[in-house]
């Protein structure tokens, strides 16, 4: 099967999903700004995110772009199956998302630029509640539904510069944009006397941020990365009205990658984000990941991660742990790469439990 046909398959899949880039959503973030997206390609996500700081196809660090030897385009798709459990109830949810799209290539031997579109915050949910209200002397049962579809997209324009043979630095500008279409619906059981109430609003978002980082090859078989990012306030508008302004977090992190053998790569990373700046009910988060990649043409990738979710009702941040596996194959003499991965996440906090299976498919094209 040719790379062209694979690409056609991805296009068909995108048409079915019909959405822009988004990450998987979570019930934990309904009351907050949203679920932070993962700025990781399928390759990096299959290692638990451990390789993201060194992956030029992941819009995670800017300096990693320097490893792009050719013009490269990457897209990722994830189909998630999520079990949301509370005491007494369990619901399976399904979503399909396209969390990352990146383009980049070298301008010279030392300078590489790239642009990427990825999910910054996902606000896709539909919370249905059952209640009743005393109206005109009679209790009227009803169903309430508050739904949202959309999120904040991170459009990054970045450049990386190789300085000498061991050091690379990168700088990125992030435009935060996007919108959510929200619906609030109340359906009374007595549809004869009471008309269904449906209110619809479109919230648009704007903001920006900057990021920078460096990768230093400390040994022929070892490299370290440091990165930082500062996002400014996120402004929410309904029509022409500014309805909310929320500070966005700063991000600091570091990563280590070892290559003891040409066919074995091991990496680990850690980062911290100051989500508590965004307002009440938000927490600073710490995330770590570790993973390895074995082989070259059809590698095996394995990774684990531990994370915290920035929004939750309790006094501490909900936690998230995950494992992932994946592989890839090259097509058309290396002009195309198909990455597949399977991720299992477990989230818990304040009596709510989420178990998520995500099937990941990525396509990389190097013309």
């Amino acid at each position: 099967m040719s790379a062209r046909r694979w690409s056609m398959g991805l296009v068909i899949a995108a048409m079915c999903g019909g959405g822009v880039a988004r990450a998987q959503d979570s019930q934990f973030s309904i009351a907050g700004l949203g679920t932070p997206g993962r700025l990781e390609s399928v390759r990096s996500r299959s290692t638990g995110g451990a390789f993201a700081a060194f992956d030029p196809e992941s819009p995670f660090t800017d300096a990693a772009l320097v490893d792009l030897r050719n013009a490269t385009a990457t897209a990722a798709q994830g189909a998630s199956f999520r079990d949301v459990s509370t005491p007494g109830s369990s619901t399976w949810l399904r979503t399909t998302r396209f969390p990352v799209l990146s383009l980049g290539g070298p301008l010279s031997n030392r300078l590489v630029v790239g642009v990427s579109f990825s999910t910054y915050l996902d606000q896709t949910y539909d919370a249905v509640t059952r209640d009743s209200q005393l109206l005109r002397g009679t209790m009227q049962p009803f169903n309430n539904s508050i739904s949202s579809d959309g999120g904040v997209t991170d459009v990054r324009l970045a450049a990386a510069l190789r300085i000498g043979s061991r050091l690379a630095v990168g700088l990125g500008f992030h435009d935060l944009a996007g919108s959510t279409r929200q619906n609030a619906t109340r359906i009374y059981d007595d549809t004869t006397d009471y008309v269904t109430v449906v209110q619809t609003g479109t919230v648009t978002y704007s903001g920006w941020g900057i990021s920078g980082g460096a990768i230093l090859r400390i040994l022929p078989t070892a490299a370290i990365a440091v990165f930082a990012r500062q996002d400014q306030a996120l402004h929410s508008h309904v029509g022409d009205s500014l309805v909310a302004t929320n500070n966005l977090p700063a991000t600091y992190g570091g990563a280590l990658m070892l290559t003891p053998e040409p066919t074995l790569r091991i990496a680990g990373s850690v980062d911290w984000q100051s989500w508590s700046r965004t307002g009440a009910g938000a927490f600073n988060t710490m995330a770590w990941s570790a993973g390895l990649e074995i082989g070259r043409t059809t590698p095996l990738r394995i990774g684990v991660r531990g994370d915290q979710l920035p929004f939750g009702p309790g006094t501490s941040a909900p936690t998230e742990t995950g494992v992932a596996v994946g592989t890839s194959t090259t097509l058309a003499k290396g002009h195309g790469v198909i990455d597949v991965g399977l991720e299992r996440l477990s989230r818990s906090g304040s009596g709510l439990q989420e178990e998520v299976w995500t099937l990941l498919v990525g396509v990389t094209v190097r013309p």
Binding site: Q27, F28, A31, T96, A127, T129, S147, V198
Partner: protein, 422 residues
Amino acid sequence: MPRPPVRAAALVVLIALACTNDISAPGVCPQFCPLGSLTVIDTLLAAISRDSAYGRPQGYVNPGLSLTLLAASEPGIKDSRPIMLMPALPTRLVLEDTTTAPVIGVDSIVLAVTITSRDTLVTNLALSVYALPLSIDSTTTFTGLAPAFAAPPIRTVNVNSLLATPAYNNPATGDSAILDTVYHRVTLLINFDSAQVPYSVPDTGKLAFGIRVGADQPTDLSLGGLLNYGLGPSITAYLKVDSLGLGVAHRRTPLGFGTPSFNTFVFNPPPPPLDSTLVVGGVPATRSILRITFPRIIRDSQQIARATLELIPAVLPQGVASDSFDLVTQAVLVDLGAKSALDPIHVDTTRIYITPMDTVRIEMTNLMRFWAADTTAPTAIVLRQAPEGGNFAELRMFASSTTAYRPMLHLTYSPSFPFGQR
């Protein structure tokens, strides 16, 4: 590189998974629910103003133009009698071929009247037909016809008895009936002989009839009127024609002949005049117009789940059970007071029964939502009876000038949801 079957299977899985999306889950509130909630408020608004009634003494539909002729025998409440002026009979009819001969008399006449509504529970329901002077017109009054109705009726038909006969036919009198079981109408074919309706040469056979209804109980009924296509009164005359010395021939009037040139009904007591209340219905037919002040805060940014117009009756509706009627709330296309043009699309209807009631409630949710969507539409409504002029029952309700019992708008609405606020 995977083998072709593996790659094909992977592509199928990819496409299948791409089309999946189900995000609806039970909300665990307030911990895991969106900030803000959809609230619904139920409130009474004194939003009616500049309300008034129109239609007396000249109504929107007057007796002579009503689709129905009302007959009532409700002692102490209402006495109503349909009257009709039949056309002149032909002076010549075809005898043979193209030869015509003069009409010299009447053999018999059949008067057809259709009862469009009646109280089926009354016993001995009877229609009495009276001969009236040929001078009746739209100015004729109940009192003016009192002498004619004081005379003995020329025919009386017991409707219950006739409907109890085989095939609804009474050979003794020549009367018959046609029963419409779908619309519950009864068409009576009342037979008159030449002695009961003598042929008057000077009047060219013109006849004027008056009808009274009677029963063991107070009752009323409606007869189809001249304007009620196919249901109005008519006569079929069987005439005597001079056969040019060969005896007397009998000929029937042509088809299409026999509809009255005029019909109406007279009643007593006369309709009460309009006062400070909102009057709807009756004869002549009245309407009330109400202007509604739609609060801008609701009109511009809220969603209406239910809207009910509540009016307090000033006088209980009078009549018998069969007088129940539809009360129609209709938007106006343009507010011109009594002559406002009615919107045929935005209409709400409530059935009014002749029974004690404390409040008249009219659902007008659709109308209010229409006004919320079209802010250029005049927020005025007209209350009217349906059908107009076909029922003596009328509603009198307190107007906004009576503060304690003024009309109210009962609104159930949802304020704007705070989208985007955190």
